[in-house]
Symmetry: C2
Subunit: 428 residues, 2 copies
């Protein structure tokens, strides 16, 4: 993706995306005007948003945020969105619960506080509503009329729903064999939903081709040509966690890895809070979680490699099944720089972890959440994560979307509606 | 249920449930101490909570609420819960979005603001989390160790999850043939989940029997012997709607009817806000929504009858499939007193309404939400509801739990990952 020819842009920085001032290359630092671009015109490196935060005073900014809406728009001053974003039709995601996971912590041997950031509380029940909400503001600014994406499922639903509310057409692309819950949810909003005979990496390659083709003209692909804007939405997870902790950095965070974008943007968000003086600077460790059946980043981390070797995914954690993760190298950097790690668990451990989280905290996570909790458990057991330090694990999605993974968790028994039948069942 | 022998109670008003002071009979007004009772010892009428609100000053109370947590516990001073409820382990439901439904309003011909109160944002994605959270505080006060309920599905999941977080055992009873999403979600939290070979009314009758039996000793049935406390949770829908409107009554509200409890408690909540001086007193109209295949209240309303004739439910809206709704007569009273109505729609209209809400607002409702939106549409079309008055429709649950209803909303097409294959599909 990073090597595709950048789409021509005639958009200047006159576009109103709040504090965002330019696109900036993550590799060579070259600046270009805000536009629907994703690869550096100089070196083809990935583009990020550059901001002007110069007018902010910490205490004033904190008060402004705290007085803001109960959604990601409380952080509008730190996102590439116009100041009046909360008044526009959108799904207003975010401000999801940071749950004190005392029962789970006890079971895993924590002596410090363990929290679960439960992003299944978002409008379409995954963290993707955050990134899509930011991409939509860019799509408005660049006057796109159709929203599109390549998706492992959650993003398709988030784009379909957000497009419906915000008044865009939508056409999204997914592997044709996803879970029924994800397919129906993506299709119900009335946009076009195209199944691709292939895996996510095939879908993603196809979308990159489509961008350069007349058939994709006027389309904003939220995770391709709007990717720099889209990615910023994940910073809000870092912002919320710190604010919900009372404007404090957690000591350890465990984050699932698909493309790796979420993890890198959470790190970026934490760094911004430090730089702005909203939290005190102190060490934190970032851990990445993968499923064994799609663990190219974990494999590179364990082997001490800097290069990610792409894999062909084979795991029930389909929302993490990206065999060639674009931000993999940055994830490795962050895990190593912060003293964290990248670990993986088997599909059986994923299922066990879904049930563990449900049984202890009443949170029903999708398979990606099972990967995160399973890795959390493994990290403690192998001594890589310190249970005497305050820790946050992120649940990015909802168990209702991946029912098959825990289909055995059905009825304990079936009885006739009589006391005799109940007593015979042997439950009491 | 109202005619069952009340369970003996040795609990006095010494129990700390905040402003709650006693149980009070809805029919004869007789008072009894706070306890796990649901039928009046004098006349077998249903019991409600009586409060001491005498110390409240409107402006002070409003400020206290506004400074409270982003959950139903901001209204703790108006609920039968201890003052420190937010510090106890529970799911902290509520404070769900009140969505400005401009697209839907336009399509239905509204000239005033239409809102959807979207309760799918609750922890287990239905309004049941509100009522269960209140019942749990009563269960703690009365020292029950097991939580139970009869359920059409959503309540089972809410009880299972809340019991897990709060440290109770759970054993819940559902019709054995519910939607897979509801069964798996109810089972995943690790409690016992018992399927009953019968419909909801059979399940409910069985639970009433179980309460008088040694097998059910020490069990808090949230919607039977804890029903007075449980029901109060629905008042928070009224509180939130008014606060989110800027402490103002809506002019019209459309509410689905299962047992009818939610509708009656929303009316109670509105009346409390008026009495406490938190909103200005002005007329409002309450409308009830049923599915044609289970419409005993709608039938009585249309026929001008005061008596509900029980029916055998036959509808895809299983969460509303209560053929003998306990609060039906009170619903009739409220609809008539406020100048509202009770209406019903066919299953086909339910499906159409689910898609309408998804397509216009990006909200994926379960079948119960389809009933509400379908009835809203029909009420406007038949002139029963005035589209020039501010209106709120309540979506009580999540589409992911009733996927089968919209299973045809799947892939638009499947293609190979090539531009040729995409062009051949004829979408652009």
């Amino acid at each position: 993706m990073a090597t595709a020819t950048p789409a021509p842009s005639d958009v200047t920085t006159a576009v109103d995306l709040g504090p965002a001032t330019a696109l900036s290359c993550r590799e060579c630092g070259a600046r270009s005007p805000l536009g629907p671009d994703f690869a550096c015109p100089e070196c083809f490196g990935p583009l990020e948003i550059a901001y002007d935060y110069s007018g902010y005073e910490a205490e004033e900014l904190r008060k402004r945020i705290e007085a803001g809406p109960a959604s990601i728009w409380r952080y509008a001053p730190l996102l590439p969105v116009p100041a009046d974003v909360a008044d526009k039709p959108n799904l207003n995601p975010g401000w999801t619960p940071l749950v004190k996971a005392d029962n789970l912590g006890r079971e895993l041997g924590f002596t410090a506080q363990l929290h679960v950031k439960d992003d299944s509380g978002n409008p379409t029940h995954s963290f993707k509503d955050r990134v899509v909400a930011c991409a939509i503001e860019a799509a408005r600014a660049f006057e796109f009329t159709t929203l599109s994406c390549s998706s492992t499922g959650n993003l398709a639903g988030a784009v379909g729903a957000a497009a419906a509310r915000a008044g865009f057409n939508s056409c999204v692309f997914i592997p044709h064999d996803l879970e029924q819950g994800k397919i129906v949810m993506a299709g119900v909003y009335g946009g076009a939903l195209v199944g691709i005979d292939g895996n996510y990496d095939d879908v993603n390659r196809f979308c990159s081709e489509l961008i350069g083709d007349p058939a994709g003209e006027g389309w904003g692909f939220v995770n391709v040509n709007l990717r720099p804007y889209y990615g910023e939405g994940s910073k809000t997870l870092a912002f919320e966690i710190c604010e919900q902790l009372g404007w404090r950095l957690p000591e350890q965070i465990v984050i699932p890895i698909a493309s790796g974008s979420q993890l890198t943007k959470i790190d970026k968000g934490l760094q911004e809070l430090i730089r702005l003086g909203l939290v005190e600077d102190r060490p934190y460790r970032i851990f990445g979680a993968q499923a064994e059946g799609c663990s190219p980043v974990s494999a590179a981390f364990k082997a001490g490699r800097d290069v990610i070797r792409p894999v062909k995914p084979d795991t029930i954690a389909k929302s993490l099944a990206i065999g060639n993760p674009a931000d993999g190298p940055y994830v490795l950097d962050i895990a190593r720089r912060t003293g964290g790690a990248v670990e993986d668990v088997t599909d059986a451990e994923v299922v066990e972890a879904i049930k563990l989280l449900a049984r202890t905290e009443g949170i029903f996570a999708e398979t990606a959440g099972g990967v995160t909790i399973g890795v959390l458990k493994k990290l403690v057991e192998t001594g890589q994560l310190d249970p005497s330090k305050e820790t946050v694990a992120i649940n990015t999605g909802d168990g209702l979307k991946t029912l098959d993974a825990v289909a055995d968790a059905g009825l304990t028994t079936t009885i006739r509606p009589t006391l005799e039948s109940f007593r015979a069942a042997g439950l009491v």
